[in-house]
């Protein structure tokens, strides 16, 4: 168990670092059709997560993720707080219920996170949100697992798909969130939330040893 806990912690650490390092860039992205606060909101939330990572003891992945979920939910402002908090909470619930964190469990955790976001945001694929990078990415990860790819291979492929799909959101018209007010004017730039998850996945892939 110590292994998967360590792994979970290190993935979350990379995600947190990505949010902190790219605060300005993510804010820029959100200011094209949004209101520019995404970078700030995520950085403040994940900052607390990063601090917590340095101070807390080992525990099982479910309990750990629940703590992360609560920190993100309670400390992150904007739409991102509830969306990301819910995603982590749903993943945590699946992790806690599972006997061990194997490949099917990972997929189940991610699918639960996606369902959580959809429920919380009343959003679906094609609405131009982070879902449009996340869901194709998880589909790809599952495909890679099915064909028994190595961890590194699977993660690299997932990161690639998420990057592509995040960029591809530029062609979509936003139907949810603040960008939706722009109507047709939202077409032409990618969804910032989608870019964020793609960046996080790339960082995870690059950090994978």
């Amino acid at each position: 168990m110590a292994d998967t806990t360590d792994l979970t912690r290190s993935i979350v650490r990379v995600m947190a670092q990505t949010a902190i390092d790219n605060e300005e860039y993510f804010g820029e992205l959100d200011s094209i059709v949004g209101d520019g606060d995404l970078g700030f909101s995520l950085a403040r939330g994940f900052e607390v997560v990063a601090q917590e990572l340095n101070t807390t003891e080992d525990e099982d992945p479910g309990a750990f993720l629940r703590r992360v979920a609560i920190l993100i939910t309670s400390r992150t402002g904007g739409t991102s707080g509830p969306i990301w908090g819910t995603a982590f909470l749903r993943a945590a619930t699946v992790a806690s219920a599972a006997a061990r964190i194997d490949r099917p469990t990972v997929i189940a955790m991610l699918r639960a996170a996606i369902e959580g976001i959809k429920a919380r945001g009343k959003a679906d694929l094609g609405d131009k949100t982070l879902l449009d990078a996340l869901q194709p990415g998880v589909d790809e990860l599952e495909r890679q697992f099915t064909r028994d790819a190595s961890d590194v291979e699977a993660i690299r492929a997932t990161a690639r798909v998420m990057a592509q799909q995040a960029e591809a959101t530029a062609t979509l018209q936003a139907r949810r969130g603040r960008a939706s007010y722009a109507g047709p004017r939202s077409i032409g730039s990618p969804d910032p939330g989608a870019i964020v998850v793609a960046y996080m996945m790339r960082a995870v892939s690059e950090s994978w040893k």
Binding site: G27, E28, S31, V33, D35, G36, D37, G39, F40, S41, R44, G45, T73, S74, R75, T76, G77, G78, T79, S80, G81, P82, I83, G85, R120, G121, R175, R176, G177, R178, S180, Y181, A182, G183, R185
Partner: protein, 331 residues
């Protein structure tokens, strides 16, 4: 973009601290939750009113706290709905047996966090309700959109609910009034310039020499269209036309009108617009019984205006005319 501040990250904190220092007898600042609350707090028999929302819209909402208005406001950072923790902290700090009502502007982030907070505090035994504000006609309200936005009209919702709560109305009644005022309220804005969020230090969007954004949102969201600035009279015609097209206001009705500056518009221009609005409504047979000219709900340093029309009933007019006392004052 030049502005008076210390570190951008301290913008909201420094401002809230200033508000509390300026009102030491009546207000209290709880930094942990970005909370500005009435020092006295609501008395036990009274419904408590809380507003969250992002910062950058001052005086809304942190400067609308006081007797006859809000009991507390826990704004998030600039343009960001408050984190859940703030809302929970504010609610626990201001709960009363009579219940708590959240006044929430209709934005995705705000709705979500207040929904989550409601779940949590309800489990703690607090009778909590929510009144949504969605007065901005720039955005079409349909099932394919996230619905109309809440902008300057929230002042009237807060004012009427505040008066009702101060008079000891039960929670159902306070909520009914809030919903009635929201239903009677329509607004639309126009930007002459973009706002510049402190952390970004640059405009969110760019407008040409004589270009305006018609129907702009208070976070710099796009409106209905980019168009060319015309005279004050024509500007008012366009804004009032759009508002009345989505409003049940008819010849013979009485209204309250707000001409709201978006942050960088001087009051002389607002009064020029008010004069136009007053005369154009009069021509339509609509009588302005109450008027509000000034900055009520802004978008940082945006130059621009929004107009709000509230259809008055005797009840609404009475609630709007009750005394109240908030940080925003002249003397």
């Amino acid at each position: 973009m030049k502005r008076f501040m210390n570190e951008p990250a301290d913008f909201v904190r420094d401002m809230l601290e200033g508000v509390a220092l300026a009102n030491p007898d009546t207000l209290e600042y709880v930094p942990e939750f970005n909370l500005i609350r009435r020092k006295a707090g609501p008395s036990d028999g009274r419904v408590s009113l809380i507003q969250g929302s992002g910062s950058g819209h001052e005086p809304a909402h942190a400067m609308l706290v006081g007797p006859g208005m809000l009991d507390g406001a826990c704004p998030g950072d600039v343009f960001a709905a408050p984190p859940l923790e703030y809302v929970l902290g504010a609610t626990r700090s201001l709960r009363t047996p009579a219940g708590v009502v959240y006044i929430v502007n209709n934005y995705t982030g705000d709705r979500m966090v207040f929904e989550m907070a409601s779940e949590v505090v309800r489990a703690e035994g607090i009778d909590v309700r929510t009144v949504l504000v969605d007065d901005d006609v720039a955005v079409k309200d349909s099932t394919y959109t996230v619905g109309r936005r809440g902008i300057a009209g929230n002042f009237f919702v807060i004012k009427a609910m505040g008066a009702a709560a101060a008079a000891g109305a039960p929670i159902d009644e306070v909520v009914r009034i809030g919903e009635a005022v929201n239903a009677a309220t329509r607004s639309m804005g126009m930007a002459l310039t973009s706002c510049s969020p402190p952390a970004k230090g640059a405009p969110l969007f760019a407008l040409g020499e004589s270009e305006v954004e018609l129907g702009v949102g208070i976070h710099g969201e796009p409106g209905r269209q980019r168009t060319t600035l015309s005279s004050a009279d024509q500007t008012v015609e366009v804004l009032l036309g759009a508002i009345l097209a989505e409003h049940d206001v008819n010849r013979g009705d009485e209204v309250a009108v707000m001409v709201n500056g978006l942050g960088a518009t001087p009051i002389n221009e607002l009064y020029i617009l008010y004069g136009s609005a007053h005369k154009q409504l009069r021509e339509r047979g609509i009588q302005v019984r109450r008027n509000y000219v000034g900055d009520y709900c802004t978008s940082l340093d945006m130059a621009g205006v929004s107009i709000t029309v509230v259809k008055l009933t005797d009840e609404i007019e009475r609630l709007l005319s009750e005394p109240a006392q908030i940080p925003i004052r002249v003397f």
